[in-house]
Every structure is written in structure tokens, then in C-alpha cells.
Symmetry: C2
Subunit: 314 residues, 2 copies
């Protein structure tokens, strides 16, 4: 089957499936729409962690061992910065810095985040369309038991310790969806919308909060399928499970599926988990969702595409 | 003898003597006024090459083998930047980047260059006052046989190849001299003003072009002594000799001394060079001016201070 596949994607977990989809599909059939809610300015640099995770995954530059950032990374900058009493809570690898410096410089020259992202992809040989959800700033903030925190303050500086109560995506109301992302969702040949195994609260929902994106997904006739970020009641990475518990939700794949009610048609749970009880409008699938190797990523991408095509055929 | 010593200083050569003076004098008796005419913005970063050379020399962070920049440096950033098709003509080491990022960030927050420099010195344990010649931007430009060039364009990008005809220090006319620098030159206990073995045209003359500095030096009763950057008709480092030839000047220590006429009382030539013919108002001294080891730097600093004290006693 052919047609356009649109993947909504957060950071590391999402980026792995994006990489699998990149292997499974010709580049012109894939558009990856990336969360920018955790973008922030640090030491004056414009940092887009999820875009970078996706770019590193697609260009083969990801560090497989550390699980984030760039492979063959060095840390001389951070050591020197500490020597200058600089802010050292956010780790910036020497190679990773090139992305931030180049992005900050191009944005300061008047380029949009989409233009900068396209340039970085081109330079790294990525033919797949990687699009920020918006060129306007949207900033995820969390209401915690210690008050409102910016995302990176919560995620990196406080290491997700404060308990979360509520999320807000500052700027989302007036942000304009990235034109190419909306256009991809409105294509007649849209084959599937895939919600990657990313954190629903702070990776996927910021994308859905950008005006027009949720509606475009709901109005499309294409199947919408999400992949669980929860296996056996635990998040593969990051605070998704902790957040679910703090929000009073059941920590399970099924609860993530319920969170996406009204958006998705299908949901992929891990093969190690039982098939959830059926939900109205949801078809459940099972697959190996743990993506350690690149082959795991390709296999999961194929399974998700097949599940979507099954839904599309009905 | 005690009293305040003020050193005017450019990049690497000047920084070596500054380091020697730092070893020879208690920190409260030394003020180093540094050229900022070759400061520039690159990839959005505020780079102050001469200030950094002085700071690296005084903190023991200089790279002795390469002759510039920071020791134990790594180059992952540059490699990654090249991979992004970024501008790679100016080498930025990973550790060196910490200085530029921290400086740029603090300047953007509203700090002056003097405040940033004081912070960097404090963080690196430097007790000596290191002052930019001005907090206002002064930019050295060169008229060459290929037209006007910014300093770093000439110095790094074009590797000093174009022949120079003329220099200008854009912004110097309205720049305010750094307050502490002027105050040091106006101290009653001023022991000596030392012009370090830096390039006269692009390291020392930008400092003298800042209103008030030349006058303060001329009005002081303290001896003013310069150290030759030319040995045996050659520059120890950099384009000083090439520039002298292109400007139609004799390439010699004596010609540098003549260039400083009206400013200096004494001039130190290298021990390998003959003592120049006497010039009205100039006393010549000879010393070992090549500073390979830290001991060489200390010995030259002592010789220069002794020469200054001889002049001061007359």
C-alpha cells in the first residue's frame, strides 16, 4: 500500500519509531510532526530537544548506549562551563552544541524553525520531511505540588520529582500549525496517522493543542493509530507512568488508549501485555513495542502500518 | 619598588608577558588593559580573542604547543558544525566555546564586557585586574589591496594574505575608555606603563585610539616602556613584520620604537638584536624577549620592570 503517513512524535521513544517508519517507507511517503513544547532557551541557545532526538535517530547519530543525544559525544564544553561557574544542570554535549548554535544563529537571522529544521535535515542527509508542530513558540508548563514549572525545569533540573497535577501549553492557543503538517494531514492519499510511543501528556498533547491539528486528524478518513508508551504498567523511558499515577489514572496501556478517545481508531499494546477489553471505536493490536535494535524499530513500524492498513480497509 | 603597573596587551605574545608580570608582581599592583578591537560576533557568539588569550595565560589554561586557545582542547563541536554545513573558517574548541557562550549569555542579560571579564577571571582564580580597553564596541578594520576587511576576516579567514595599507578602529572615536583602566593610568603611585610585545598596528594602537588613554599615558609621570614584537627582522608570531613591510616601514625593532614616538620613554629590544641608534626621548634596553617557558616570561617581566624603574629614577 502507498500513500502519505503522518507520525506525531515526541523525543527518544517516538524518534525510534520514526526511524523504523523511515526504514519501512520511501521518504516521500512519510511526514514526521514533532513536539516543540519542550523547546527552551538555555544560556541564550535555542534548544529543541525532540526535534534533535528525531534528527539524530533518522541520521543514525543517536547514542544507543546513553539513550539520548549524539553518539561519539565529548563533554569538554560542560567541564569548561563548570569551571566558569556556569549553569550546568542541563547537559550539552560538544557535538550537540553545534545543533543549538547553528539553530540559534539561523533563527536570529530571521529563519523559521521549519526552515532551520529543513536545513539541518538536508545537511545530515535526511530526505524525510521532519516538521515542528508550529513555528510559533509553544511552551509546556506543569502544575506540580511545588507550583508551576517550565518543562525542562521539571524534567531535567528537578528530574521529574515534583508530582504533577495539570499541564498547560503556553502559546498554543495562538500558535499556527506548521503549514506542511496540516497539508499532510489533509492529503487525499493520507494512509495513516501514527501517534508514536511518546509521553501522551507532554509529547503528544502539545501537538494536538495546536489549533487545527486535532481537527485535521479527526476529519481525515485515514486510520489513526497510537503505539503504547507503557509496557507492563511501566513507562519504557521517562515520567509517563509516574504522571499517570499522580493524575489518578490507571497506569496501563488501556488507560493511554482511553486518553486518546475521540482521536484514535486503533491502539497497539505490547505483546507482553494482555489484550485490553474492547473500547467503543478502538481496535487493539499487539506487537513487540520495545525497540532496542534498529531491526526492532523496522519490525514495529511494519506492524503498525499493517494494523493501520487493516483499519483502513474496514 | 612598589606601585601600580599598567600593561597594554593584545593577544598571545602580550598575554605571555602579562603572565610574567603576574608572577613578578602582587596582583593588586598590576592592571592589564586588553585590546578589544578584534572582538567580533561569529555564529551569534560574542568572541573576545585577546581577552581570552590573556585569561588563558593568567589561569594557566593556555595551550603551549598549539600557541593559542585552551589546553586539553577537543574539537567535536567543529566537526559536528561542518556536518551541518556551518561556517567553519573560525576554529572554536569545545572548551573555548564555554567562554563565548557564557560571555554572550551574560552580555545579553545586560552585563558589561568588564563585568563579564571580571566574572570569568574570578571563576578561574585570577586576582589580577584584567580590563577591556572599553565596554563600547571598537572594531579594527583593514584597508587592503582587496578593499576593507574586518579584522577576523583578514586575520583568520584570509590568513593575513592581503597586503595592508591602512587601519581604522570603527567606534573608537565615541568609545568610552574603561573607567578602571583610566583610573589606573591616573594613579599617583603609577610605577610604569608597559606596552607588551603585541602587534603595534592591530593590538596596541586600537587601545591608544580609545579617547583618554593616550592622553592619560602621556600625562603620567611614570615611565612608559614597550617590548619589541620583532626579533631579527621577524615577528615572533602573527603579521606584524609583513604589515611593516607592506606599509613601507623598515622591519626592525627600532622602527616599532619610532612608531611609539611621543608615547614611550624606553624600548626593550631582543638580546639577539644590536642596540639601535639612540632616538630622542627613547632609552633602549636589551633583554631576552623570546618567551617559550614560564620562566622566560618571569625573567622578561623582571627585566622590563627593572628597565622601567631605571627610567623612573632619572
Amino acid at each position: 500500500m502507498t500513500g502519505q503517513v503522518v507520525a506525531l512524535c515526541g523525543g527518544v521513544g517516538g524518534a525510534k519509531l520514526a526511524q523504523g517508519l523511515g526504514m519501512a517507507l520511501p521518504p516521500e511517503e512519510l511526514t514526521i510532526v514533532v513536539n516543540t513544547g519542550d523547546d527552551f532557551r538555555h544560556l541564550g541557545l535555542c534548544i529543541s530537544p525532540d526535534l534533535d532526538s528525531v534528527i539524530y535517530a533518522l541520521s543514525g547519530l543517536s547514542d544507543a548506549v546513553r539513550g539520548w543525544g549524539r553518539r561519539d559525544e565529548t563533554w569538554t564544553f560542560m567541564e569548561a562551563l563548570k569551571g566558569l561557574s556556569g549553569e550546568s544542570w542541563f547537559q550539552l554535549g560538544d557535538g550537540d552544541l553545534a545543533m543549538h548554535v547553528e539553530r540559534t544563529w539561523r533563527l536570529a537571522q530571521g529563519a523559521t524553525l521549519s526552515e532551520v529544521t529543513a536545513h539541518l535535515c538536508r545537511a545530515l542527509g535526511i530526505a524525510i520531511r521532519v516538521l515542528p508542530m508550529s513555528d510559533d513558540p509553544v511552551r509546556t508548563r506543569l502544575l506540580t505540588d511545588e507550583g508551576w514549572l517550565d518543562f525542562q525545569e521539571y524534567f531535567v533540573h528537578r528530574q521529574c520529582r515534583p508530582a504533577v497535577r495539570e499541564f498547560t501549553f503556553a502559546g498554543a492557543e495562538t500558535a499556527r500549525a506548521q503549514t506542511g503538517a496540516l497539508a499532510a494531514l489533509e492529503r487525499r492519499d493520507l494512509r495513516a496517522v501514527i501517534i508514536c510511543p511518546s509521553n501522551p501528556f507532554v509529547s503528544v498533547e502539545p501537538i494536538l493543542a495546536v489549533p487545527g491539528i486535532r481537527a485535521a486528524i479527526q476529519q481525515s478518513n485515514a486510520p489513526v493509530i497510537a503505539v503504547t508508551p507503557i509496557i507492563g504498567g511501566k513507562a519504557i523511558k521517562g515520567p509517563a507512568a509516574k504522571m499517570m499515577a499522580e493524575l489518578g489514572l490507571e497506569v496501563s496501556a488501556a488507560a493511554v488508549a482511553r486518553r486518546y478517545a475521540g482521536i484514535i481508531d486503533g491502539f497497539v499494546v505490547d505483546q507482553a501485555d494482555p489484550m485490553p477489553e474492547s473500547l467503543p471505536g478502538h481496535t487493539f493490536f499487539r506487537a513487540a513495542t520495545l525497540m532496542n535494535s534498529t531491526d526492532d524499530r523496522l519490525q514495529l513500524a511494519r506492524a503498525v502500518l499493517q494494523a493501520a492498513d487493516t483499519l483502513g480497509a474496514t
